[in-house]
Symmetry: C2
Subunit: 358 residues, 2 copies
Amino acid sequence: MTALAEEIARTYGTPAVVIDLDKVEANIARLQAACDAAGIANRPHIKTHKSPELARLQREAGARGITCQKLGEAEVMADGGLDDILISYNILGEEKLGRLGALQRRVRMIVAADNPVTISGLPRAAEIAGRNLEVVVECDTGRQRAGVETPTEAVELARLIAGSPGLTFAGFLMYPPEDGWERTQRFLDAANAGLRDAGLEAGMISTGGSPNIPNIGKLKGSTEHRAGTSIFNDRMQVAAGVATLDDCALSVYATVVSRAGPERGILDSGSKTLTSDTGGLEGHGYILEYPAAKIAKFAEEHGFLDLSASNDRPKVGEVVRIIPNHVCVVVNMVDRLITVRGDKLVGELPVAARGKLT
Amino acid sequence: MTALAEEIARTYGTPAVVIDLDKVEANIARLQAACDAAGIANRPHIKTHKSPELARLQREAGARGITCQKLGEAEVMADGGLDDILISYNILGEEKLGRLGALQRRVRMIVAADNPVTISGLPRAAEIAGRNLEVVVECDTGRQRAGVETPTEAVELARLIAGSPGLTFAGFLMYPPEDGWERTQRFLDAANAGLRDAGLEAGMISTGGSPNIPNIGKLKGSTEHRAGTSIFNDRMQVAAGVATLDDCALSVYATVVSRAGPERGILDSGSKTLTSDTGGLEGHGYILEYPAAKIAKFAEEHGFLDLSASNDRPKVGEVVRIIPNHVCVVVNMVDRLITVRGDKLVGELPVAARGKLT
């Protein structure tokens, strides 16, 4: 148990969600460098950190703008001085269209759409804003989440946007599977050909994903990339081979509160802290001090340690550090992050856009 | 799509986490009646609702006190007028012991312990409080989470508590597996025999769990029961046979934002709303309007609908209601619950103890 762990436990109690600002800055710089090397604009996704302060650091490092998933996140970011915001999500319903219009009055907003119903609502936002709203068509190039499935549909929606009052067709947005970049290229080439026939042009071609950082620029014609997780990294990023444990800027400091059996223990961090997002990995996090210990399952406030494979075993009262499987959802559990630099405690950073469900 | 769903979407946007106060009151009354019928005190666990208002409703219905899992929850509850609080958790570390002492100055606090390290710290809290602190020994009767594994250890810890300055041995706390009540009885009888030899007595024997509501009072000697989830219920409670869908007081109103393929769709509620707690069930929630639709997986803000088994399929823009698998973790994602009575919108209820990790 390090002096820093003792200080954090004494000052804040555990569980404490802690970020190392040195590593955060290095991660920000690494993403920016990857974009710069490819000649692609950087538009990081703030879903991971939900902090206007960190978004401003990303902008200062060279990011063109930011990406949000929710309007509520964009509102917090606009309040924090960010003025070029892509929402990579279908915005639907009168309540949201009103808020989108109000945002677009203040800052540059770009939104995604993958269907005519979404597009049919967006002119209302533009009307409230009093100026045109940029809309990109979300394309599914293999991940089967949102996004039109064919280039033909993409071009149809582009025409629909271009023909709608107050809307500007801005381009295409995709989140290619890590092994799906050739397919994505074929999709984009076909869609661009269709656009030319329609007399349109895609000014923005936005790719996404932290696991795709090694692929930035591979898509000919791409103009921007959206990566979120890489600002902190996590066990999934390490498993994907795009980060090392040392690149993981966030850890959860947890206390061992029970050792009722020789081969088991309880951490004070359960699914209400680390969340049940497994990311497809075995165990619910990597314990830096006890790498052979497994966080085998969760109750809400209990992390169940399986110590059978660990010769070294923690005592009750000991504070350990956990690299979570999926960092984005862990940040979303807390109202503040504790900040450190190396072995020095710095302070706190509010997670200002936490819990902005809408 | 009901008029209420339209009103909620228009007023709050989606996702919206909504509770029906009529059902909440009926669920509170049902738990109290089960405790009354067994002659057992009701000490509901507030981890599910995290609301002092709802805790006061539980007290008004007859609850003796409340149970919390975290000190931060207890602080919010004490601020809200609750004055008899059990923390069913090992409290460790100087920061927490200071807060526990401050709480114990204001209200009756009882805490659990399952090891000597925890017990060795607690006198510090009593010293700060200026009066004795009641401590119960947590016993593991088959669930393999926290709790001593044998009656002998339970009695040893009882002696240790009784011999510690400022501490009062208050009894035993257990969370019996639903099928483990005979084993729990044997454990308790042996522990009580040991206590008698030590000249001690267990004033409080506390059992727990909403799935155990049908078992309340089965343990001879039990004095209290702690149930949390039953105030709202969820798909796990329905699967356990202790609630019906109609008893589920909380639902998540979500909008269908994409229908990119004929057999699939996207809800605006992913793991940052419904959480990845599966509760061991297939699918991530039950959609009241489309019971054959499956919420097959999540991204953070996407709920992936598999509609292949559903003849009836929702359109983009439609609002649906989801009964979550595990309600306690869903409440913990939001700062407020929307309240309704039947088909009438009532207002909002803050989730005041949300995110109290420590």
